[in-house]
Amino acid sequence: MSLAADSAAHRASDRSQGEGRSLRLTALTKEFATFTAVRSLDLEVPAGTFFALLGPSGCGKTTTLRMVAGLDTPTSGTIHLGDDEITYEKPYRRPVNTVFQNYALFPHLDIHENVAFGLRRRKVKDVDQQVQEMLSLVELEAQARKKPPQMSGGQQQRVALARALINRPEVLLLDEPLGALDLKLRRGMQIELKRIQTEVGLTFVHVTHDQEEAMTMADTIAVMNSGVIEQMGSPAELYENPRTTFVANFLGQSNLIAGAVSSTVSSTDGDVVRVDMHGTQVSIPADRAHVRAGDGWVGIRPEKVLIEPLGEPLDAPGNHLTGGVITDVSFVGVSTQYLVMMPWGQELMSFEQNTGRRPVLATGTKVDVSWRPEFAFLLPASQDVNAGVVEES
C-alpha cells in the first residue's frame, strides 16, 4: 500500500480513537402499514468494532440500518451515538455514512467527484488531495476520471466504499455491499473490507444474509429474525452454542434430535444435563442446555458427529448411538458428507474431513454414531425444528 493511503488510514484511525462513540439502539420499533419490520430492538455496538446484522430477507435488518442512517423514521424507540440522541436527526446531519446495496453511485459525476461529494457538501479544504489518498486506498487512483457505468461491479463497490469512508463517519453502514458480486470477487472483497476496517478503526455495521460472510468479517454478529434479535455474540460463540433453533439452522447446519430431560447431575467439571434421546441417555453441559426440564431438541453440528463401521472403536466418552445406516454419501473434496438413518427414522448429517485415515464409506454401511458431550447443545422443544433452515440452491 502506498504512503498516501497509509496517511489517510492513520488520520481516520486517530480521529476515531480520540472520540469513538458507541451506537445504541433502545426499544427501536418500525411499523409499516401492514407489518412490523423491527420490534423493540435493543442493541449496543461498541466503537471500533465490525458488527454484523445477519438474517434472512425480510427480517428487518435493512430497515434497522436505514433508521440508523436516517433514511427511515422509527415508529418508536431511540437511537444514540454516545450521549447524543440522533433518532429524528436528518440523514445529512448524522456522522454516519452508508454503502448502499446497489452502490447508488451518481451516474452523472466521475469517480473523483463521486468520492468528493461528501467533502464538498461540508466545504472541506484540499478535497482533491484527500480524494486521491482515498482512491489509492481502494486502488482506483487510475480510474478517477471514469464515470461509474464504465466500471465493473467490484470497482463500483470500492468507489461506494471510498465515497462513504472519506467522510470518516463515526459509523459506517454497509447494506449487503457484496451481494451483487460473484463468489470469487466476494471472497476477495471480504478480506479487503476487514483489512480496511482494521486500518481505519471505524465502527462498521454490516447487514447481510450470508452467514459465511458475517462469520468471516464480523467481531460480533446479531442474528435477526422477524424483527427481533435471536442471539448476539462472537461468530464462534453463536456457532458453538446457539440458543435457538433458528440460530442453529441459519448459522451453519445442525442435527436437531427430539429428547426429554431426565436429570441434572453435578460433577467436578460443572453440572451436566442428562437427556433421554430415543432410548439413549446423552449428556449435555448445563451451560449449553437452554432448557432444564421437559422436552427439548438435542443439537449437534454435523462435523462433530463421528461415524465408524459397526464394531470399530469410536471416540465417545458418553454419547454413543448404534444402529445407523448410511443412506447418502456426497464427496466434496476436502470432506465427505454422510446422511445416516437412525433407528427412530431420522437422518443425521455427519461431515468428515478427508484425512485419508480410512476410505470413504459406502451407502448401506451399518455404522455407530458418537459425539463428544461438550459439543452438544439443548434447545426448548417449543421452538420450530425447521426455523432458519437455509434451502440449498
Binding site: 440523514p91 445529512y92 446497489n102 451516474p107 452523472h108 461528501g118 457538501r121
Partner: protein
Amino acid sequence: MSGLQRAGRWIGEHLVLAAGLLVLVYMFVPIAVVMLMSFNDNSESRNVYAFRDFTWSNWANPCRPDGMCEAVVRSIEIGLLATLVATLLGSLAAFALVRHDFIGRSVANTVIFLPMASPEIVMGSSLLALFVAGGFGGRLGFVTIFIAHVMFCLSFVIVTVKARLSGLDQNLEQAAMDLYASEWTTFWRVTFPLVFPGVAAAALLSFSLSFDDFIITNLNAGQSVTFPMFVWGVAQRGIPMQVNVVGTVMFLISLFLVVGNMLVTRKKVAA
C-alpha cells in the same frame, strides 16, 4: 456456380443497406424540395411548384410577403411561452405523480393520456365552446391560443418527464442526503441533473407541437394569425417562396439541436 453464390451473398449483404437508404431518401426528399424552393425565383411565374431560376432574394428579403414575419414571430412567442409554462407545470405534475402516493393517482395517470388520445378537432371545438361560455368569445387571440397550447403540451411534458423520473433510482437521492446534502442541494446536485434530459426533451417537443399546431389554434385564434394559419391562408393563392426559407431555417435549427445533443452525449460517454 460459386460466382452466382457470391452474387447472391453480395445482394444479401447490401439489400438491407439499400433499403435503409431508400427509406432515408423517402424521408428527406420533401425537406430537400423545401430547401431547393427557398432559392427559387418564381416572381414571373404563377406556378409555384416549378423551379425557374436560382436566387438569393428570398433569403435576402424573407419578410416580403404581407403578414408572414408577424405570424412567425407570433408563433415563436406563443411557442416559447407555452413551452415554458407547460414544461414547468408538467414537470411538477410528473414529480407529484411519480413521487407521491395520493388517492386517485392511478386515475390521474390514465387521464393524462386523454388529451393526447382525443382528436384535435374535438379538443379545439370544446375549448372554443369553453372560451365562449366563459365570456371570452369576443376576445379570442394570443391569450386563448397560449392557453390552448399549454393544455395540449402538458400531457406530452408529463409523460416524457415521468418516464425519465421513474427510471431514476431513488437510492441516489438518499445517497446524496447520506453524504451531507440537504434536500435543496440534493435536488439541484443530483435529481435535477439526472432528470434534465427528460425536461429538455419535453421542452423541445412542446415547442414543436405548439409551433406546428393548426386545428386547435385555428378554432381559438380569433383575429390572430400564427405561421401555420398564414401558410394555410396563402396556399389558396400560391405559397410565397419565403415560406420555404422559414421551413429551411426551422429544419436547420432542429438539425443543430439534434446533432449538438448527440455530440454532448458522446463526449460525456467518452470522458
